[in-house]
Each structure stands twice: as structure tokens, then as C-alpha cells.
């Protein structure tokens, strides 16, 4: 009788271990995949910017410096090809700088109602908004998935399986406060919001 109980307990424990292991592996892969998604969206932004800048160059002759800042930030972000533990920090710094330059461009566009009226610029605005949204949503999904993964591998009893599944805490994608603060948030043009 005692042997039977022991056997049943053992079977239950094995099944639990398999479940916990598979759960961790699944979360790990989801986290990796979510990180790839950010990469895809960043790449998309890099590819898009030259076209966008070309499309509005003529209409925005008087704001050359803003456009140039965007192009420069873009080129810097493309060149970051880091690996190692600091990789994410370097990438996110360059990308945050690019985000900052792009939001400055958006603010400039907002300031000139005539500019917004030209077809190209309206489309530029929509494309920029969408691009920034895609990146931030990809980041949000990554951070949510990574948090879930980190919580799971640290919580008892799943933490017992963490070593076996080679689970290590995933780094979250931090948003650089400095870059956000550099963006002027005030719109002084006094026109109704579109």
C-alpha cells in the first residue's frame, strides 16, 4: 500500500515537473520572439526614414536642420551593431535618440498648418505616428512577456525547474527618460487638434 502511494506521488511529481519545464521553455521562446519583433519594427523604421525625408524635403526647405537631425540619428542607430551584455542598452540609447529626433519633427509639422495641408506631409505624419506606435507596442509586448517569464522562473515552485530549463531573467527594455524629456511637449500654435 505504501509503495503504491509513493509511486502515485512520484508520477504526479514527474508530470508536474514536465509541465513546469515546458511552461518555462514556452515562455522563454515567447520572450525571444517578442524581442525579435522589436528588431523587426526598428528595422522597418530605419528603412522608412530615408523615403519619408525625401518625400517632404521640398515642402520643408525652411526646417532643414530638423530633417538633418533625423537623418543623422537614423544613421547612428543603423550603425549600432552591438553584441554582449550591453547590447540592449546601446541599441535602446541610439533608438531613443532617433525617437527624440522624430518627435521633434512631428512637433515642427504641427506648428505649420499650411505644411500639414500638403498631402505628402499629412501622410508623413500618419506614417511617423504609426511607426512610433509599432515600436512602442512591440516594446510593450516584449516587456510584458519578459516580466511574465521572469516572474514565473522566480516563483516557487516553478523556480525549482528554472535551472533545468536554463531560465535566466530577461532584461526589460527601459525607456530612456532623458530622450523623452528632450522632446518639447508644448504646442503653442493655438489651433484645434486634428
Amino acid at each position: 500500500m505504501g509503495a503504491w502511494i509513493l509511486l502515485i506521488l512520484l508520477v504526479v511529481a514527474v508530470f508536474w515537473a514536465i509541465g513546469a519545464y515546458n511552461g518555462l521553455i514556452s515562455l522563454k521562446n515567447q520572450t525571444v520572439n517578442a524581442f525579435k519583433q522589436i528588431d523587426v519594427q526598428l528595422k522597418r523604421r530605419h528603412d522608412l526614414i530615408p523615403n519619408l525625408v525625401n518625400a517632404v524635403k521640398g515642402a520643408m526647405d525652411f526646417e532643414k536642420s530638423t530633417l538633418e537631425a533625423v537623418v543623422q540619428a537614423r544613421n547612428q542607430a543603423v550603425q549600432v551593431n552591438a553584441a554582449g551584455p550591453d547590447a540592449m542598452k546601446q541599441i535602446s540609447q541610439a533608438e531613443n535618440a532617433l525617437s527624440g529626433a522624430l518627435s521633434k519633427l512631428m512637433v515642427v509639422v504641427e506648428r505649420y498648418p499650411d505644411l500639414k495641408a500638403t498631402g505628402n506631409v499629412g501622410q508623413l505624419q500618419e506614417e511617423l505616428t504609426s511607426t512610433e506606435n509599432r515600436i512602442s507596442f512591440a516594446r510593450q509586448l516584449y516587456n510584458d512577456t519578459a516580466t511574465q517569464y521572469n516572474t514565473k522562473q522566480q516563483q516557487f515552485p516553478a523556480s525549482l525547474m528554472a535551472g533545468l530549463a536554463h531560465a535566466a531573467p530577461a532584461q526589460l527594455w527601459e525607456i530612456d527618460d532623458q530622450a523623452d524629456k528632450a522632446v518639447p511637449q508644448v504646442d503653442l500654435s493655438m489651433k484645434p487638434k486634428a
Binding site: Q41, E126, S130, R134, F137, T145, T147, Q148, T151
Partner: protein
């Protein structure tokens, strides 16, 4: 607001529950046909039991077998072509190559929210209906469709559109669409078959009268007719009540998922307010697809009353309740981030 840690198991449970309920629905549908057929066979058998040896004896249940096969065929067909049929019934047109800025924005918003939801981008459709509404259909996130009305595009701001699209993607992600679409397809088939059999019986009756058949079968035919007609009358009501019951709870859940994807519950709240205050009548979204929509297109008064009758019959929870919940989420979020406007009311 629930994010990350505790969202996943409930999502998987939700997906499993939806898969299971879809299976149950299909099995129930086939069983209903089997009951109709074998029930008819049994009555026929009883009626011919005491016939003389040279008269007809109904011993082989061909009616039951045929109807079960037909029911299974219909269920299979409905399950597989449900999304197409739903889209076809609303006259939606697919946006593959966005022509206008408005369409471009819709495609962008859907792509953004698919990223946030972590699912492939569904195919995008527009319904030329002036009433603002939206629905999603499909079998799973890999084969999904999202449709919005022209009225919705005209009325909503970008943020509000995002909230509505995220709500629909929530339905797609937790497999609500599979259950709802199968239900819509089967409800549609039952309505269709009812109309069809009605016509068949009418023509059949006039035919037998003209031929002047013997009266010994008359009582039996009447019994069969009564059962059949009753079944066809009851079936659509039951399936429609099922559709209503099944969709109500899901709306709150999809609202919460939308808030999780956009992190902006107040935008969906204001979108719902706009939809509720819109006077434009629905021209393309009909009863069959009502339970798929973000807000009931038929504008039934039942949906506006949080009472007992509304709880049983309405396909959607009262919009007021949904708005209050969303605003509560927005308030909690703002409080957490310390971005509460100074003049905001305390809830």
C-alpha cells in the same frame, strides 16, 4: 489593470473553453438533426407497427441516417465557410491596397494593435454602413478577419479607432471568434433550413391534396408535421438565445484586453460613447451577425437595461456599464502613474 503575470493562464483557459464550447456546439447541432431524424423514424415505426403483413412496415431508420449525415455535412460546411459567409452577409469589401488616407490609417492601426496583441495581422474589411460598428470573425488568430464600418472610420479619432480595433483583436486572440462565427453560421443555416422546409411542406401539402392520397397516413403525417414544425420554430429561438448568452460576458473581457493592448482604456470608453450616441441606422449589419459586433447594431432597447430581462435576452451588456468599467480602469492607471488631472472627479 491586469498585465503579464496573471493574464496568461486565464487567456489559455479562455482559449480552451472556446475550443471546447465550439466542439459542443457542433456536436449539439448534429445531435439535434439526429433527434429530428430518428424521432421521425420512431413515430413512423410505431404507426406502421400494427399494419397488416402486406402493408408498409417502417423498420429501417433511413430518415435518421440521412438527416444525421446532412446535419454533420451542414455543420462541417458552416464551420469551414463561416467567416466567408459572415463577411458576405454584411457586404464587406477587403482592403488589400489602401487607397485613401482613411484606409491607410485603418491598416496602420490594425498592424500596430496586432503587434501589441502578439498575433498575426488579420485581413481587413470595410462595411459600407453609416452606423459605427466593428466585428471580427475567423477560426483562429492565423485565419482571422476584422471588419469596421465606414461610419466608424468617419466618426472616430485615431486613439478611439485603436481602442475598438484592440477590442476586436482581443476576441480573435482568445478564440471568441471561432465560437461566435460557428454559432452565426449554424444559426444562419437553421434559419435558412426553416424557411426551406416551410416552403417544401407548403408545396408538398398542395401536391398530396391534388393526388388525393389515402387517409390512413393522414394522422401520421400530421404528427410528424407538428413535431417538425415545432422543432424548426424552437430551434432558431434557442440558438439565438445561446448566441446572446454566449456573447455578453465576452464583451467585458474583450474591453479589458483592449485596455491591456492600448494602455488607454479611456479612448475605448469615448469610442463606445460615440457609438451609443450615433443616430445613424445600421443598413448592412443584420440579426445574424449582431452578436459578433462591438455594439449591438439593432439598437435594441433591451441592451440598455441592466435588469433581469436584459440579462437573459440582450446580446451585449449595457454600454453604460462597459463605459463605467473602462473609465475606472483609466482612473486606476492615471492614479498609478501619478498623471491624474487636478480637476478629475473622485470615483
Amino acid at each position: 489593470m491586469s498585465t503579464g503575470a496573471d493574464a496568461a493562464p486565464t487567456l489559455f483557459q479562455q482559449q480552451d473553453a472556446n475550443r471546447r464550447r465550439t466542439t459542443l456546439l457542433v456536436v449539439g447541432f448534429v445531435l439535434f438533426f439526429a433527434w429530428l431524424g430518428f424521432g421521425g423514424d420512431y413515430i413512423y415505426y410505431l404507426a406502421t407497427l400494427h399494419n397488416l403483413p402486406y402493408q408498409t412496415h417502417h423498420t429501417f431508420p433511413w430518415l435518421g441516417i440521412v438527416l444525421t449525415v446532412v446535419g454533420a455535412g451542414i455543420a462541417w460546411y458552416g464551420y469551414n465557410t463561416g467567416p466567408e459567409k459572415v463577411l458576405w452577409s454584411t457586404g464587406a469589401r477587403e482592403i488589400t491596397d489602401p487607397a485613401t488616407d482613411q484606409e491607410k490609417q485603418l491598416v496602420n492601426v490594425v498592424e500596430e494593435m496586432s503587434i501589441a496583441a502578439g498575433i498575426p495581422r488579420p485581413r481587413i474589411w470595410i462595411v459600407d454602413d453609416p452606423a459605427p460598428n466593428a466585428f471580427a470573425t475567423g477560426i483562429d488568430p492565423q485565419h482571422a478577419h476584422l471588419a469596421v464600418t465606414q461610419g466608424l472610420l468617419d466618426l472616430m479619432s485615431r486613439d478611439e479607432l485603436q481602442g475598438v480595433v484592440a477590442h476586436e483583436l482581443g476576441h480573435i486572440k482568445n478564440f471568441d471568434v471561432r465560437l461566435m462565427t460557428t454559432l452565426a453560421a449554424l444559426v444562419g443555416v437553421i434559419l435558412l433550413v426553416r424557411d426551406g422546409t416551410g416552403r417544401f411542406f407548403w408545396s408538398g401539402r398542395s401536391g398530396s391534396r391534388s393526388r388525393g392520397k389515402g387517409s390512413d397516413l393522414g394522422a401520421l403525417v400530421v404528427v410528424l408535421l407538428v413535431i417538425w414544425i415545432l422543432s424548426w420554430i424552437v430551434a432558431p429561438i434557442v440558438t439565438q438565445m445561446l448566441a446572446m448568452a454566449v456573447s455578453r460576458k465576452r464583451e467585458y473581457l474583450a474591453d479589458a484586453m483592449s485596455a491591456q493592448f492600448t494602455r488607454n482604456p479611456t479612448a475605448l470608453a469615448s469610442a463606445l460613447e460615440k457609438i451609443e450616441n450615433s443616430e445613424a441606422p445600421a443598413t448592412h449589419l443584420k440579426a445574424g451577425a449582431a452578436h459578433l459586433c462591438i455594439c449591438d447594431p439593432l439598437d435594441r432597447k433591451l441592451n440598455d437595461h441592466p435588469g433581469a430581462l436584459g440579462d437573459v435576452m440582450a446580446s451585449h451588456p449595457p454600454i453604460e456599464m462597459r463605459i463605467i468599467r473602462l473609465k475606472g480602469m483609466g482612473y486606476a492607471q492615471a492614479k498609478q502613474q501619478g498623471t491624474l488631472p487636478p480637476d478629475s472627479p473622485t470615483v
